[in-house]
Subunit: 91 residues, 2 copies
Amino acid sequence: MADPTAEEFANLAWAIAHPARVQIVRLLIGREACVCGEIVACLPLAQSTVSQHLKILKESGLIQGEVNGPKVCYCINRVQLERLKALVTGL
Amino acid sequence: MADPTAEEFANLAWAIAHPARVQIVRLLIGREACVCGEIVACLPLAQSTVSQHLKILKESGLIQGEVNGPKVCYCINRVQLERLKALVTGL
DNA sequence: ATCGTTGATCGTAGATGAACGATGCGGGGC
DNA sequence: GCCCCGCATCGTTCATCTACGATCAACGAT
């Protein structure tokens, strides 16, 4: 075995393997860019919890955030998103 | 929020959010049907561990297994697989 | 310089996942 | 009947996720 893509696949799948993260990703896809505070407002979770989910998504490469003054602007990484789609449809 | 599909999405994504389960799914897709023992032979895991992964995949609906004498034959559930693909490409 | 806002990080608690060995159970073969 | 094979399940251990409040760091505004 030792499928090289199996692990990459699992990582990407795991990133969205949580309802909150699915919603975050969908939110960012539909909005082009979004400040962290808005995301927190859209979810029934504490700010720290949302921040952790954002960290997980960032580590997977699905999203990226850039500091904009005191705020942080998150947006989708289309490249990784397409990578995920390709892996799934390639099943 | 309360995205009804977010949870379904997360469940399906979580089912393949593990390298071993990705390999199992790929194996079944490529083989049409496969006895449990063959799957165990293809993975560097104990039989009981593989059995648990199969249980998880079965609960997600991605695969289904039918008893065939002393053996159990697993196969992909194309319907759920297409459902997963649709959810991902629909992002 | 101080303060308020924004978001990341820390620390913690409870729940769940992953892996294994051992055991249980049903079906065939002797 | 008895035993072996194939698979599921149980029980356990260790690690990780999830969620939260509290705290910390960076920045802008006053």
